[in-house]
């Protein structure tokens, strides 16, 4: 502390800091990005390990025999599905009852705020069917869930077949200590949302559902199964849930452990694990896997039916069967054994999964980056904002009003827009959103007219101070909850925040500022995501994709309560507008 108590050295330090402010900022920014990229380098990451004792040391044997029969059941299900062109409720009820389960159904209906053109639905009506396997000598206090969505077309029939096959096999075993709920949900996420709301008797999104008749107590863990072929080459694990929430890492460990034991190829983000981490291609593979996770998490949408469980403090993941052109195939019996093993271990749980990490990134299935490792990358970016605070109120309110307009108008004005312009409802919503967003750019002029006077030098300094503090808090909070989203926003907004003053060249700066705005970030993210998935798109296709991503974001918010859209509209966008204001300060 001698450093601070000596006024001479204190002055020298401050001088040094003010003099080197710009280079320090640049260095910090570069260091932050470099640190982040380093996270994917294997020697810098930790190997995954099972933290939960109850799942680690105990041995289970997998004996599920009847994969063939499960596939046949899947075909039967497909036939019935085609016959009624939808969910074959009666057949499912009868089949589950024959397998000795307590069967219940739940009806639900939901009118979307505007038509979802990707999935071609507007007024959704459906029925969930679930059967409960009652654990012998357990008092209905704990349950596990295995779900398979009933999707239109020829998809996912094998998943339902395997679910029924497992139900039959599980029913004849004596060792269950938790009830197991076998759920076939209609209309994928909407059905899942209805079922979860019904189970917990809450209503967060204004859905209509009939109350559930049978329950199994508090749900400890859930797996959602997606399987569209009789044989698969690999199993893919999907972790990213609503609002970027992730399940406990032990669930991923469990999946990985059993894939290793049974000898099934397993992937995450559709990427196999590679051993050549020291080569450039190996490293870029890991970066690609991690960046895919970052992009998916940042999007805040549920990337599988499991995503909605996480809100209810239920650890959940989706397991997808992938059938590619690889030689080595895995049959349904093996997948059944994989699931059997996982459920037996989950059945052994004495407590909810809590031992392992909840905040992590995965550059491969066997390695993870914990919160302690990735936060410094964000910290280095955020520290740039602090010297900015050292320098010294006003259009804050107007920026937020614009944000509120961006949040509310698209849905409110869709009917009016459809009347006056030749567009569909979905386009109306998206285009209104973009229009409001763009209209916000004209804000500085209006602000000044309102203020009716020349802005002072001190004025913009105060504004910048407020904006910087705002951004620091906003990004800090976002990164805590959803690291990926926080990081991506920091990557673009922080430079914008750092350089903007009224004294820089106007046209060039305005261009840069627009490039760094949240909407453009999203646009780039769309292209980047396609690139990562090795499916590059042309600009026009990318633009259409961009529009549909916006509409999906809005839909996710209204259907499942995803928070990304309101976050962008109500907080991030107004914050960016403040910087826009500073640039055009007179």
């Amino acid at each position: 502390m001698g450093l601070l108590s000596d006024p001479n050295r204190r002055r020298a330090l401050i001088n040094l800091l003010t003099r080197l402010n710009a280079p320090i900022c640049v260095v910090c920014y570069m260091a932050g990005v470099a640190w982040f990229m380093g996270l994917a380098f294997e020697p810098f990451t930790l190997r995954t390990y099972m933290s939960e004792n109850a799942m680690g040391s105990t041995m289970v044997e997998e004996r599920f025999p009847s994969g063939e029969r499960a596939v046949a059941t899947g075909r039967e299900f497909a036939a019935h599905k085609k016959k009624v062109s939808g969910m074959p409720v009666e057949w499912l009820v009868k089949t589950m009852q024959a397998r000795g389960l307590e069967v219940y159904t739940q009806r639900f209906s939901r009118t979307l705020p505007f038509p979802d053109e990707n999935k071609e639905r507007y007024m959704v009506k459906g029925t969930n069917v679930y059967g409960i396997l009652r654990a012998p000598r357990a008092p209905r206090t704990e349950a596990l869930v295995l779900s398979a969505p009933c999707t239109p077309g020829d998809n996912n029939n094998q998943a339902v077949g395997l679910l029924l096959g497992l139900a039959q096999y599980f029913r004849n075993q004596i060792y269950w200590a938790k009830d197991i709920i076998f759920l076939v949900n209609d209309h994928d996420l909407i059905g899942m949302q209805a079922w979860l709301e019904g189970y917990h008797h809450t209503n967060t999104t204004g859905m209509d559902w009939s109350p559930l008749q049978g329950r199994g107590g508090s749900i400890q863990a859930a797996l959602s199964l997606e399987l569209s072929s009789d044989v698969v080459t690999s199993m893919d694990l999907v972790l990213e849930g609503l609002n970027g929430q992730l399940p406990n890492l032990d669930l991923a460990n469990l999946f990985y452990a059993f894939c290793q034991k049974i000898g099934v190829l397993c992937t995450i983000q559709g990427k196999l694990q590679r051993n050549d981490w020291d080569s450039v291609s190996g490293y870029s593979h890991a970066v690609q896997t991690m960046m895919l996770m970052v992009m998916k998490q940042a999007s805040g949408r549920p990337w599988g039916d499991h995503g909605l469980f996480l809100r209810y403090h239920i650890e959940a993941a989706t397991i997808k069967g992938i059938n590619s052109f690889r030689q080595y195939k895995t049959d349904a019996t093996t997948i059944g054994r994989l699931l059997e093993g996982m459920y037996r271990k989950l059945n052994n749980l004495l407590e909810r999964l809590h031992q392992s990490y909840f905040f992590y990134l995965m550059p491969s299935l066997s390695h993870f980056v914990s919160i302690g490792y990735y936060m410094p990358a964000f910290g280095l970016l955020a520290v740039i904002l602090l010297p900015g605070v050292l320098s010294v109120l006003t259009p804050l309110v107007i920026s937020h009003l614009t944000g509120a307009a961006l949040y509310m108008l698209p849905i409110r004005f869709q009917e009016m827009a459809v009347e006056h312009f030749p567009v569909s409802e979905t386009e109306a919503v998206v285009l209104t959103a973009i229009a409001v967003y763009t209209a916000g750019l004209a804000l500085p002029h209006n602000t000044h007219r309102l203020l009716s006077g020349e802005g002072t030098e001190q004025g913009w300094r105060v504004l910048k101070l407020v904006a910087l503090l705002y951004l620091a808090v906003l990004l800090g909070c976002t990164a805590l909850i959803n690291f990926s989203l926080g990081f991506i926003l920091a990557l673009t907004l922080v430079p914008a925040a750092a350089f903007v003053t009224p004294h820089v060249p106007k046209v060039l700066s305005a261009f840069v500022l627009v490039i760094l705005s949240p909407a453009c970030t999203l646009l780039f993210s769309v292209f980047f995501f396609q690139e990562l998935q090795e499916m590059p798109v042309s600009f026009l296709d990318g633009w259409l994709l961009y529009l549909s991503v916006i509409s999906q974001g809005i839909l996710d918010h209204f259907l499942y309560g995803s928070l990304v859209y309101p976050l962008i509209a109500l907080l991030v966008y107004p914050c960016w507008l403040l910087f826009w204001n500073i640039l055009f300060w007179k």
Binding site: S5, G100, R134, R137, P139, R140, T141, T202, S218, R352
Partner: protein, 567 residues
């Protein structure tokens, strides 16, 4: 009521015999269930004409277990009911049980009105019982004990109804296993050496869907005039075997398949030893071998049931092979179960770790009769009930309870007690909801496995349910017309107690490795951060000139004399 039914079936049992003064009976009732499962219910009854009270020293025990006799006299117990249950009775699949019990352990005791300090006696009694039954009953303390005002009335004779002398507690977390079964079997006069108790082998009893064992002690009348009282000890054991877990999945049960034993003799000390098979649905559904000509009719749970009776005291019951292995085989799986008229379920609604809502659903399946039920809820203090949010609705309308007894909780002292008398409209669901807040416990109050959650015991629903026999006033099945016009009072309703499932609630749980981190962090912050900040704030800093050298000092003296500023 079932006891009453037994009395009707054998009126000779209660006739006073001067020698001996105690009496032991054993019986097994087997009920094939519609789901293909099978329900077996054992009852062992010891009657003893003695007086434990008024300082009477009883030292000679014959059939009655001495350990329990001493408990009765030492703690002045009037009535004692204790049950240990593993599993949950599935009312909708299995119908009503003969003797209901909640999952875990349940204990309720009526003390004599001579007891002055009931709480202390109760505390001591639970510790003694804990030893006798090898169970964690010592965890019963004031935080989970309540005094129900209406739900638990004495089942024996006696006119004490002041609920100050009643204590009721449940331990929903208690796990029942062989270590509880062995001491229970030791209380029987024949142990598990002879009679029906040879069937009670733990490897089969715990390979089942439901297992419940209980001990009931109460004073009963010795004769019809009720001049003197006897003590009755009833030991019961109920078990349900699962069709799917039993192996081949064929709808066929035998004593051997259920218990991996057959019967060769009755308990020699028993005055009566019988097996009853509920054959009300015979012969349409299943066949029984060996066949018996002895039939018995009884009113059980509001329904007229027919039983085949096997008397184990008769040698010819065992046939030429000297062993009895009853076989029940289903012929068809047709036919519907009579839907239970009353059933209930309970769950926790909401998400997050701050608040929640307890929903209790009570179903009245009677097509046209409404009946009142008594709901008893005992909720631990760490769920802080918002009693102003209590709602009772049936068929979408507010249902006002005619009686409410609510005792608020005291933190770390006593639980919430809520008792309500609610009228259930015919063919309806009545929903009782109440919101609660989850308390943050002190860190030593968490269990060793805090992330498992905390249990809330079952609610108890007691009711007089209109009987199904009274329902079919039109039917003249085996009844003369003159007897069936006015519904007979005894048959018109029957007593049912339904237990809901216990709840598992998660409370906000700290990360227990955190104290270490917090201590380290706090110490660092205090030492470095606060210390230096305090330093900076309280001290003033000045630039101090180093003391000048000798030459400089001399030069300064000269400069001073010249009137020039010093160096």
């Amino acid at each position: 009521h079932y006891a009453a039914a037994q009395k009707q079936a054998e009126p000779a049992v209660l006739q006073p015999t001067p020698q001996p003064k105690d009496d032991f009976q054993e019986e097994l009732v087997v009920r094939p269930l519609h789901s293909g499962d099978i329900y077996a219910s054992f009852q062992f009854r010891t009657l003893w004409e003695t007086d434990f009270m008024r300082g009477n020293k009883v030292s000679h025990y014959r059939l009655f277990p001495k350990s329990l006799g001493q408990v009765i006299s030492k703690f002045s117990v009037r009535e004692l009911h204790i049950s240990f249950t593993q599993g949950y009775w599935r009312t909708m699949q299995w119908g009503q049980p003969y003797l209901p019990s909640p999952p875990g352990a349940e204990l309720w005791v009526w003390f004599q009105d001579s007891v002055t300090d009931v709480d202390a006696t109760w505390k001591e009694l639970t510790n003694v019982l804990s030893g006798i039954f090898c169970a964690s009953l010592n965890f019963i303390d004031s935080t989970n004990t309540v005094q129900p005002s209406a739900s638990f009335k004495p089942l024996g004779i006696g006119n004490v109804t002041d609920h100050r002398f009643l204590r009721y507690a449940t331990l929903p977390r208690e796990i029942v296993c062989t270590e509880n079964l062995t001491p229970w079997k030791k209380l029987l006069p024949c142990g598990s050496k002879a009679g029906l108790a040879v069937l009670l082998k733990s490897e089969k009893l715990f390979h089942s869907s439901f297992h419940s064992q209980a001990v009931h002690i109460r004073p009963v009348c010795q004769d019809w005039q009720c001049k003197t009282t006897s003590w009755e000890l009833r030991q019961t054991l109920n078990v349900v075997f699962d069709l799917h877990n039993s192996g081949q999945g064929k709808r066929e049960w035998s004593l051997f398949k259920m218990f991996s034993r057959t019967l060769t003799e009755a308990c020699p000390l028993a005055s009566s030893s019988k097996i009853y098979i509920d054959i009300t649905d015979n012969p349409e559904q299943f066949e029984l071998s060996p066949a018996t000509s002895l039939l018995s009719q009884a009113m059980v749970l509001g329904d007229r049931r027919t039983f085949s009776v096997y008397d184990l005291t008769q040698q010819d019951t065992f046939g030429s092979v000297r062993s009895l292995n009853l076989l029940i085989r289903w012929k068809s799986t047709e036919g519907d179960m009579l839907r239970p008229l009353l059933h209930a379920e309970r769950y926790v609604a909401g998400y997050g770790l701050q608040t929640g809502e307890i929903h209790t659903l009570m179903y009245n399946h009677h097509p046209y009769r409404s009946f009142p039920v008594l709901l008893l809820d005992s909720v631990p203090w760490y769920l802080r009930l918002y009693i102003h949010t209590l709602t009772v609705t049936s068929k979408g309308k507010d249902n006002k309870p005619s009686y409410i007894h609510y005792q608020p909780s005291k933190d770390r002292v006593r639980p919430h007690l809520l008792e309500m008398l609610v009228q259930l409209p015919p063919n309806s669901v009545t929903e009782v909801t109440v919101q609660f807040e989850r308390a943050l416990l002190k860190w030593t109050e968490y269990t060793p496995d805090p992330n498992h959650g905390f249990y809330v015991g079952s609610s108890v629903i007691s009711s007089l349910v209109p009987s199904t026999v009274a329902m079919d006033t039109n039917s003249t099945r085996e009844r003369p017309l003159f007897s069936s016009f006015f519904p007979c009072k005894e048959e018109s309703s029957y007593f049912v107690r339904v237990y809901t499932e216990p709840l598992l609630v998660n409370l906000p749980t700290p990360d227990f490795s955190m104290p270490y981190n917090v201590i380290c962090l706090t110490c660092t912050v205090v030492a470095v951060g606060y210390g230096s900040l305090y330093n900076l704030l309280t001290r003033s800093f000045q630039i101090e000139e180093p003391s000048p050298g000798l030459a400089k000092r001399i030069a300064n003296v000269i400069r001073k004399m010249r009137g020039v500023p010093p160096l």
